[in-house]
Symmetry: C2
Subunit: 206 residues, 2 copies
Amino acid sequence: MGVELQISKPTRERLIRLVRLLDQLEKAGKTTVSSAEIQQRTGWTSFTVRRDVSSLGIHCSSPAGYKTTVLKDEIRRKLDLGIEEKLCCIVGLGKLGAALAAYGGFANSTFKIVAGFDTSVNRTETLIAPFPLYTTTRMESVIKNLGIEYAILTVPEASAQEMALRLAACGLRGIVNYTTAILRVPETTAVENLSVIDALQKLSTR
Amino acid sequence: MGVELQISKPTRERLIRLVRLLDQLEKAGKTTVSSAEIQQRTGWTSFTVRRDVSSLGIHCSSPAGYKTTVLKDEIRRKLDLGIEEKLCCIVGLGKLGAALAAYGGFANSTFKIVAGFDTSVNRTETLIAPFPLYTTTRMESVIKNLGIEYAILTVPEASAQEMALRLAACGLRGIVNYTTAILRVPETTAVENLSVIDALQKLSTR
DNA sequence: AGTTGTGAAGACTTTCACAGCT
DNA sequence: AGCTGTGAAAGTCTTCACAACT
């Protein structure tokens, strides 16, 4: 506690992915992995990998490289991944929202979807999901009562900004924005933009 | 055209989003917008906005700021957005793939989905989409015949790497990766990662 | 012998401050 | 008067080179 680790954003994002890679390698039976091999598998230089790891104050080297399991667990611990369960909701239960509601990948993570919201009563009553669905009128109270910290926003673009402000007002820590809308919310709530069109445009302007 | 515009990645990503913001402002009837107002709406500083715009060699200032339409069209032109139609395919027609197949947002973009692929004949025959569906055995030939340049990857994590390599071998320019897999493909093919879990973890480690 | 860990250099990005334009 | 455009400074991130470790 108390040691002020200042990890830069690029480093944090690489480490998050590195954990996943280490997980894959571990399952494939590799007990050690060198920074050179991580370079080969990710495209990040071995310098960068070593700097990233070392910036966490982790030391688990051997002449064969890092010990897969140790490194993975250490990064998880330092970044607070994989321990505490974090509650999420899906806002907007159209096709995309419904697809995410059925997504099995959350099971392997610490994120748990505990509520879904839609303006249409028809949707909330028809859709079958492994968590309760509510109309958006009840959004604020459900979020506060359950202690939800993250939202996945899959509403139509036209209502995205309004919903984002309502969510931020509930004190959410973050919003995953699947819409193309440019969201502006108070700084206490972070936004990650996952619009397909954005992603394709990034690829095409490369 | 010869003028070697070297635009940095952060600048490019902001400009892509700026185009969308300008589009929204234009529709809201704003004819001009200052860098200070863009700062207010995006969180990027006005310095950065001006530097980004100026790095394209664009000049469309007035004492009231940039002219919304002119700026939008100029960025579009310089970044090669919004002119030529770019062909895409969806690989993996589970719930997420199907949701993207039905997504209307592509209509406003220059990206056009012209094919879908799945290993299961059952899926390709059952699912209704506004473009033809094929089994993955035909993937290489369809991509080459139609001239598809981008793929949206929504297969199960276990087959993601293999599919990515097959897609890269077709000479695709880019892959939008919705899986949590860490993909490694030749440098000629770019990858944008849009995993929900990744996004949530970025938010939670902030 | 082969690896990590890290000070120092280098490259890149953002911020500042203000000249110059309309 | 109020904005943009940009050289220069500051700040951040990556790469290099090599000492230290196993």
